[in-house]
Amino acid sequence: MAEITLKNAEKKASTFNLRRKPRLGETIIQGLLFFSGFFSIFVTLGIVYELGKEALLFFQMPEVNILATITTTEWKPHVGKFGIWPLLTSTLITTLIAMAIAIPLGMSVAVFLSEYATPRVRTTLKPILEVLAGIPTIVYGYFALTFMTPILREIFGRDVVQIYNTGSAGLVMGILILPLITSMTEDALSAVPRSLREAAYGMGATKLEVALQIVVPAALSGIAAAIIVGISRAIGETMIVAVAAGAGPNFTFSPFVGAETITGHIVRISGGDLSYDSIDYNSIFALGLFLFFVTLALNIISQAIVRRFREVYE
């Protein structure tokens, strides 16, 4: 009898194998999940490969010459002139105007929400700013053309400000980027520990001194990252400039005349039924690749700043 129980126990022990069993289903699922994770790498490689391939074809075309592209100031594809400067300057102007609006306003709003606003005010205001961030950019384009441009023309005179101008596009782009800068800055500000503020108050600092001399410097890396991400967003922004900034490259630094940005040019060129392997077709890939690398570099810089300079508090 005792022998039988012992045998049963032995049998049980042998079926209860503690070693990990190979499970086919689990392996397949894990493989699929890994594929999903790896998929994003394919997307990046796809961007670099496809855009690089066509951009290379663009630079091999007889009309195109890299040196002329980066030194001349006329972009006229139909006569074979491909100087990138007119596209660059207008991108620069719209971005500068946008940041001139978005950085001071966005940071002020962030300081207000994080340091001054009562919890009730904050919970009411934040969703409103999120609405601003969720509105499609084409709506901002419409706003720039039908609201901002008439106002600018009213203020500066109809003969000074053209119907399509980079100024109104830049101003509205600033409004678009405002919530982005606000939310990133506010995150950085609220990550600064309470104890730092209390210490400053204990020394007799006013609320403003605490905010500007203690909290903002402590959150500086996050704020810098927010600004860089904002710039990258402004450079890549398309629909506002496509609608309001004008059609046709124009080498100018005046915000009151029409000029086409890189993104605006891509949209206008591809708006028609673009035929493959034409010089226009290849040129948008070269411009797209340029945009990709510029925004990528800016994003990497912003991440590096956060990683390098972030103050870690206990």
Binding site: P136, F143, L178, L208
Partner: protein, 413 residues
């Protein structure tokens, strides 16, 4: 003694410091108000253009088209078709019949054709809502003085008919049904591509991936992809989905279209392009949702002998699902509002027939807004404003459902 001077020094510039504090407080508050004012101005500007007086003249007076005392609006479909047949040239009539046989057209569609082809109302002038409300008498006076022939009506460009009518080139009969259906078809493929891959990638990164160089690259790459301008995705979509995969995206491999006319600029290409665009957003949101599921739940599941996948499938995913869905809805609303990549991928500018398969040509709501905004005439600006309202209502309801979902199902551990 020394202490006293310090205290006095402190008190001396205290007023100045406090004053400075008040001034800056006002500045911070004012900036916030400016942000909110911008939102209000944007909304009012759209509403302002979507309603108002319109002066127009008809080429043919609708009253003269009454048959046997039946006004045009009340005539049957057969009467309207007969009217078209007798008024239009036979060539134009046959062309319409070829596009879509009159037998298959509804009465509303035929009526719309009558308005477009025979009555042909021409817009003379458009007023926005604000002048229409504040100075209607002046508007009436101007119209009777300058254009005595015209009719003046207070028009809401946004009507039920506007939402349900197909696209046309005539402002009075134009609608956004084609564009809305185009948006919905596009979004369907966006979700089909991005949701499974996005959630899969998030599960992989949160539950399976060990901290090695490959997985760190994947994570960094996803963060960077989220910052790539949307137009770059459009160019990628043009190269891959429209051109390289043309046999697939045009439906040629399924024998649906003639290879010679195959065109990859379809709903499917557009949806997949937007899918790539929102993929990083979905991954990042899903990762956050999965991370919020407490460790203890997983450990309990492992403790009773569940495998990794059983734990993920039965415990992690159900608890993370509200968060994942909320993130997905937000990503989808981003995709619905996207314009630039679809222009590059090749949205059609003028199609009046609803998309009915993955291989249809397409237009979407934002594309439609872009088209109308680019037209210089005021009536098209008003149409653009009306379609912006449609788009915003669509997005608002999506976002509201996301918030509801979050509040209803989210659990706190």
């Amino acid at each position: 003694m020394k202490e006293k001077t310090i205290v006095q020094g402190f008190a001396n510039n205290l007023d100045a410091r406090n004053r400075k504090g008040v001034i800056w407080h006002v500045i911070f508050q004012a900036s916030t108000v400016v942000g909110i004012l911008a939102l209000i101005a944007l909304m009012l500007n759209v509403i302002n253009s979507a309603f108002g007086y319109v002066a127009y003249e008809a080429r043919v007076d609708p009253d003269s088209l009454a048959v046997d005392g039946t006004a045009l609006e009340e005539q049957s479909k057969e009467q309207l078709v007969a009217l078209l047949q007798s008024t239009l040239s036979s060539g134009a009539y046959n062309k319409l019949d070829n596009e879509k046989p009159f037998v298959d057209r509804s009465r509303e569609e035929v009526f719309q054709l009558v308005v477009e082809r025979i009555i042909r109302p021409q817009v003379v002038e458009v007023w926005n809502l604000w002048p229409s409300l504040t100075q209607p008498d002046e508007i009436r006076a101007t119209v009777t003085k300058d254009h005595p022939e015209t009719e003046l009506d207070f028009v809401s460009w946004l009507t039920y008919d506007f939402v349900t009518r197909p696209q046309t080139s005539e402002p009075f009969t134009a609608g956004v049904r084609t564009a809305i259906l185009g948006s919905l078809w596009t979004i369907l493929f966006t979700i089909l591509l991005a949701f499974p891959i996005g959630v899969g990638a998030a599960i992989y990164l949160e539950e399976y991936a060990s901290d090695n160089w490959l997985n760190r690259i994947i994570q960094t790459n996803i963060n960077n992809l989220a910052g790539v301008p949307s137009i770059v995705y459009g160019i990628l979509g043009l190269a891959i989905f429209v051109r390289t995969l043309e046999p697939l995206t045009s439906g040629e491999v399924f024998g649906l279209v003639d290879p010679t006319t195959a065109n990859g600029r379809t709903v499917l290409s557009a949806g997949l392009t937007l899918g790539l665009l929102v993929l990083p957003i979905i991954i990042i949101n899903a990762q956050e949702a999965i991370r919020a599921v407490p460790r203890s739940l997983r450990n309990a599941s492992f403790g009773v002998g569940a495998t990794k996948w059983q734990t993920v499938w039965s415990h992690v995913l159900p608890n993370a699902l509200p968060g994942i869905l909320t993130g997905t809805i937000l990503a989808v609303s981003r995709a619905i509002g996207e314009t630039a990549p679809l222009v590059v991928v090749g949205a059609s500018t003028a199609i009046s027939f609803d998309p009915d398969s993955p291989f249809s040509k397409f237009t979407t709501l934002p594309i439609q807004i872009y088209q109308w905004t680019s037209r210089p005439q005021d009536e098209f600006q008003s149409l653009a404003a009306a379609s912006i309202l449609v788009l915003l209502v669509l997005l608002l309801s999506l976002n509201a459902s996301a918030v509801l979902l979050r509040n209803r199902f989210s659990r706190r551990f």
